[in-house]
């Protein structure tokens, strides 16, 4: 009995019991899909983070409001506490000698209207330093000036996606008036295209002066973050200590473990993101492992059913001259085909899944040959591993008893 005939027999068996085979394959499918997605997310997210860090430069500190000493708690509540103020930002700029630029910002989502277009997007209140600190520049027109900031001007600079959403293609947005929360703003500039980002793309954002955002649009006097560009890369730790001391003093906190803010540098952010993606990878890896084992047990179960159902067939095959190894091969190939089909479907599922995830997450879509090979080999290995027991059972059947089986 050759392999091709065995494969044909296996495919026939699978086709006859579509429902049963499909359900059996599902376990393998989910497992393999999770493997593909896991690898894709891991490499996509980390490459996106790395490129962001590189584009931002390494001399950047980020001050975020927090809830106090507990790191896990602070991360949960980051950006929601109201502990950072404009005065804090001003003090950092004025009193810390190692600091070059300070870019405080406040952002929130709200309704934006132009002509008959109505979108809900991120409004970011920034100062003129934003451009320099974030290494994110205006392409047409001009950015928000310090005059706009002091005058609380109603001017806006749009990200590329915001332009695409609000204006028809070919229409020049400069000098047009858009309405943010029903307040008219004059468009003075359009930002360059930033490309993918991990959470929210700055391309979606509309930038307005910080003072305008706080006082005229949202009525808030807090800040969500203060980005600080340090003069000299070697002074990062010094600057971080100085800012911490200053803010602790300003907030009247004696013990730094009870600080109501957090200072992070790019390395911290990188490690946080890596932690998140590796946790996600681990989670998916767990799902993959469990699902592959459960799927394998499913394969074994269905193969045992198949062996029992076809006891007479096995008896007949033996009677006409099949040796034990022929029967072993037949059932091994059947379980191999079953789990390989499941694996290939899972591969497709995983690729579609990671494509969607990469679009949502805004990182590059990565499917490596090695992950495809890994998934294929893994599902084949499962088919063989969990197929051996049923196949051996079939091959050891006594032909007479098998022929008599009802």
């Amino acid at each position: 009995m050759n392999v091709i005939q065995n494969i044909k027999t296996a495919l026939k068996g699978i086709a006859v019991n579509k429902m049963r085979s499909g359900l059996t394959m599902l376990g393998i499918m989910i497992g393999v899909g999770a493997v593909i997605a896991m690898v894709s997310i891991g490499s996509g997210a980390s490459s996106s983070v790395t490129s962001r860090i590189q584009s931002l430069g390494s001399n950047l500190l980020m001050v975020m409001p927090g809830m106090g000493g507990n790191q896990a708690g602070a991360r949960q509540a980051m950006g929601t506490a109201t502990t950072l103020t404009n005065e804090d930002a001003q003090a950092v700029e004025d009193e810390v000698p190692t600091v070059k630029f300070v870019s405080p910002q406040f952002s929130s989502s709200t309704q934006v209207v132009y002509s008959n277009q109505n979108i809900n997007t991120q409004i970011t209140g920034v100062t003129s330093e934003y451009e320099e600190v974030h290494n994110f520049h205006v392409e047409f027109g001009q950015f928000i000036s310090s005059g706009d900031e002091t005058g609380q001007s109603r001017v806006a600079v749009l990200g590329q996606n915001a332009v695409a959403d609000l204006f028809e293609s070919g229409e020049d947005p400069i000098s047009k008036t858009i309405k943010i929360k029903n307040i008219p703003f004059k468009v003075v500039g359009v930002m360059e295209l930033k490309g993918e980002a991990a959470m929210q793309s700055p391309d979606d954002s509309i930038f307005i002066p910080l003072s305008t955002a706080q006082n005229r649009v949202f009525g808030e006097d807090r800040l969500q973050s203060i980005y600080v560009q340090v003069k000299n890369e070697e002074e990062m730790d010094l600057a971080s200590d100085q800012i911490e001391a200053l803010l602790l003093n300003r907030h009247n906190i004696g013990d730094s473990s009870e600080a109501d803010f957090r200072i992070m540098n790019q390395a911290d952010i990188l490690s946080t993101v890596t932690e998140v993606t590796s946790t996600l990878s681990l989670l998916l890896g767990g799902i993959a492992a469990i699902s592959l084992i459960v799927g394998g047990i499913g394969v074994m179960n269905i193969m045992l059913v198949s062996v029992t159902e076809r006891t007479r067939e096995i008896g007949l095959r033996k009677a006409v001259g099949a040796k034990s190894k022929d029967i072993l091969g037949q059932f091994l190939i059947e379980s191999l085909v079953l789990s390989l089909i499941g694996g290939i479907l899972g591969l497709i599922l995983g690729i579609i899944g990671s494509l969607i995830l990469s679009m949502v997450g805004g990182w590059p879509f990565v499917v490596t040959i090695s992950s495809v090979l890994l998934a294929t080999i893994f599902s084949a290995a499962i088919g063989i591993f969990f197929g051996i027991y049923p196949a051996r059972r079939a091959s050891r059947l006594n032909p007479i008893e098998a022929l008599r089986y009802e």
Binding site: N2, E313, R317, V320, G321
Partner: protein, 248 residues
């Protein structure tokens, strides 16, 4: 082909199942010789050991003790794989239940033994069509078992038994599941195969089926109680049919 060639020779063969209180002696020391080209019926009440004897003759089972020489080769000490080869090359089985593979066309059922053989895998279908023609079913070659009548299914099974050109056909109540007319058709095929020189051994409960053969062996409680030539057999002996074995 030699005249009066002994194809099956068993000597004091026994088969027991189980042990202790549940010990069953299915065959208790049978000795038997069957010549090439003979047509033999085995009869006897149920539990007499007919099927066990047939299984032993067909190499489906190994005797507990005794010697079995099939076509000049001792079979009683063979391992499972060698026995499988013997079954594949020398024996064609026909069962009461037909035992065709479901959802598999007649022609694919017929080629099944060839796929396990050591011979060339070319022209399998050609050969299958030829044997299906021999049993008058070449037009049904692509029908599946559930599209065939019982008699037709049994003819496919006979074609399957013939495909490897075995020297012996073993049939376990081949007409037991068939109406009289289909049964007669099957027996006509067996008669012709025997005329063509095939050795055929069949188990039957029906006297009129046994009358087709040349020799009837009666079993009871695992022993041969009678071994007689039928009218056919006596005729054949007279006309030298057995000796020639090639006569049309």
């Amino acid at each position: 082909m030699q005249n009066k060639n002994t194809i099956i020779e068993i000597d004091n063969i026994t088969k027991t199942y189980g042990a202790g209180a549940t010990l069953v002696e299915a065959v208790r020391g049978i000795s038997l010789k069957i010549q090439e080209g003979e047509f033999v019926a085995i009869m006897g009440p149920s539990g007499s050991g007919k099927s066990t004897l047939l299984h032993l003759l067909g190499g489906l089972d190994q005797a507990t003790s005794g010697q079995y020489i099939l076509d000049g080769v001792a079979v009683n000490n063979m391992d499972d794989d060698s026995l499988a080869e013997v079954r594949n090359e020398k024996i064609g089985f026909v069962f009461q239940q037909f035992n065709l593979l479901a959802r598999t066309s007649a022609i694919d059922n017929v080629t099944l033994p060839l796929t396990y053989g050591s011979g060339s895998k070319k022209d399998l279908r050609q050969q299958a069509i030829q044997v299906l023609k021999d049993v008058g079913l070449e037009e049904r070659a692509h029908h599946k078992p559930n599209e065939l009548s019982g008699g037709q299914q049994q003819r496919v099974a006979i074609a399957r038994a013939l495909i490897n050109n075995p020297s012996i056909i073993l049939a376990d109540e081949p007409t037991g599941n068939l109406d009289t007319k289909s049964g007669d058709e099957i027996m006509t095929i067996f008669d012709r195969l025997n005329d063509e020189g095939k050795t055929i051994i069949l188990i039957t409960h029906e006297r009129y089926i046994a009358e087709h053969t040349q020799r009837i062996i009666y079993l009871q409680d695992g022993n041969i109680i009678e071994d007689e030539a039928t009218a056919n057999g006596k005729n054949a002996a007279k006309t030298g049919h057995i000796q020639s074995g090639e006569q049309e």
